[in-house]
Amino acid sequence: MIFSSVFFLFVFFPIALLLYFIVPWKLKNFVLLLISLVYFAWGEPIYIVLMLFSVCFNYLSGLELDYYRKVKDQRWLRICFWFTIIVNLGMLGFFKYYGFLLDNLNAILPVDIPYKTLALPVGISFYTFSALSYIIDVYKGTVPAQRNFISFGVYLTMFPRLLAGPIVRYKDIFEQLTVRRHTWYKFGQGVTLFIRGLGKKVLLADNISAAFNAIAAIPGDERSVLTAWVGALAYTMQIYFDFSGYSDMAIGLGKMFGFEFGKNFDYPYISKSVTEFWRRWHISLGSWFRDYVYIPLGGNRVAVGRHVANILIVWMLTGLWHGSAWNFIIWGLYYGLLLLLEKYFLAKYLEKLPGIVQKIYAFIFAVFGWVLFSATSLSGAFTFLGNMFGIGGHGLVDSTGLYYLGANLILLVICFFCSTPFVWKHYSRIALKKGAWRSVAAAGIYTAIIVLSLAYLVNATYSPFLYFQF
């Protein structure tokens, strides 16, 4: 059940909200846990087993780690820690990478190992990473183990962020599991954030996706340079509005239930470097890898050779996290290399360029990245990239390219402005000041977003979020 579906908006969500607010404070977490499990089981009746396993197993692991800490038994502490890490990663690895691994083994080995392809359990990458952050922090003693099973269950399964993040870390949220304030102001913030996210997803991402899907389906030798660029730009906008729209909805829902999650996106397309882009894109994943992989590996406080290796390891894993396919690994390494290039070579030259040139540079490299990311195969990705430079394609400009440009130009321009702070800045200048008419205007704008989104939703076919597949 996705947030941008009529059933969620008009049945599930109102019931969940009502139940949550009518029960006394002591029962709120329990109700939230139940709601979350129902939400998960709705789409994944079998894989709820994995979710429940993860909750129970990691809850007990926390208690066990805490116990060894108290009795100062370092040996068992380490054994328990690594056992827990291996089980969590083993589960994630099995469901996510098993088919990929066997595919590649079958390709290089003379024998064929038969296997059954299993559907990827939705959200497994997200809740496993949340569980790992808890385990690592308890092991290091950064946070106390959670003794209340319900609270821990809420942390891991909380339905707003269950399927596609943000990857909330336990240390950022554990206090809110016991004490959190519900205010009308916060609730209102949550509602408006949710509506903005809904608009991003339904009005922008879903509409621009048609252009990319159509262009991706054109055979490589019939794609002109213009067609390829329109397609790549459309996907660049689609993935941003799709994923940041989901994050806005999740963070907004969290606020309605009294939680404060951190920001997950901060206008990534206005970055002046690739390094900055990754500080603004999927912030919760980037900071997860920084804190739990990059820094433990030594970060940048090591010799240059080791630092290069660290960066490449982190980015290969980031790529792999997104999916079990070679194009994701290449996409990750592409960013690893760009970041290294910037750090050791380009940064000092980039800084001297005018801001707008820096922004165009970062944006174009993000577009190339999304082409790698969007492809279903490595050869498809390179064909598409080649087409963008006129290699193996259909000339510079052709009628197909002009058609797609004409049909999507207005939407692309709207997307472009909405992906920068421009729209929000002008909106807040009008609406967020004192004066009754301003509030009315703001309410009008939000109502318009809802009505338009619903009009699209009622007509649209099912369109899940891109990030559900990771």
Partner: protein, 169 residues
């Protein structure tokens, strides 16, 4: 400390340890149960075709085209990894052999439905005027879905074809 002692086994392990190991065993059983059932086969369709066609007489069928596949089953052959169809030589025959290698196991349901449709159509055609052919369709047809492979055969010796099909995967 007495509280802590209660939580400890003789080797120093906490009592949560065995509980967690037990949970992992349950998880493994769950994963193995998911893995049971039909597996995806990497066998080449040419090999499967050769095995099946050599197991039965092929006098009244001939190799057919993707267009006929579309006509008989209403499906596009290009949607699947590969399709092999042997259709009746004349309209008076009901024998038929179809092997589909799916691109994705999720396609199985649609193909199965199309096959059932085709079978019903054929039965309607032959019912009442060609009792032998009708009997063949009614009692000697097999639809076998094995992971990414589907076999449909109408033949007096259908079970031999099915056995050869299974062995070849």
């Amino acid at each position: 400390m007495t509280m802590n002692k209660k939580l400890q086994l003789s080797n120093g392990m906490s009592i949560f340890g065995p509980v967690r190991i037990g949970m992992v065993v349950v998880l493994l059983v769950f994963i193995i149960s998911l893995q049971m059932g039909d597996r995806v086969s990497a066998a080449a369709i040419e090999d499967v075709e050769a095995a099946v066609t050599s197991s039965i007489t092929m006098d009244s069928v001939e190799k057919s085209t993707d267009r006929m596949f579309k006509k008989f089953y209403g499906l596009n052959a290009s949607d699947y990894e590969s399709v092999v169809l042997y259709a009746p030589v004349t309209n008076m025959d009901a024998e038929e052999l179809l092997i589909v290698k799916l691109a994705d196991t999720s396609q199985a349901e649609a193909v199965q439905a199309a096959i059932t449709n085709r079978l019903d159509t054929q039965k309607n055609t032959f019912e009442g005027y060609a009792p032998e052919q009708y009997d063949l369709l009614d009692n000697h047809h097999i639809i076998d879905v094995r992971g990414n492979y589907i076999l449909y055969v109408v033949h007096a010796n259908a079970s031999a074809a099915d056995q050869a099909f299974r062995d070849s995967l």
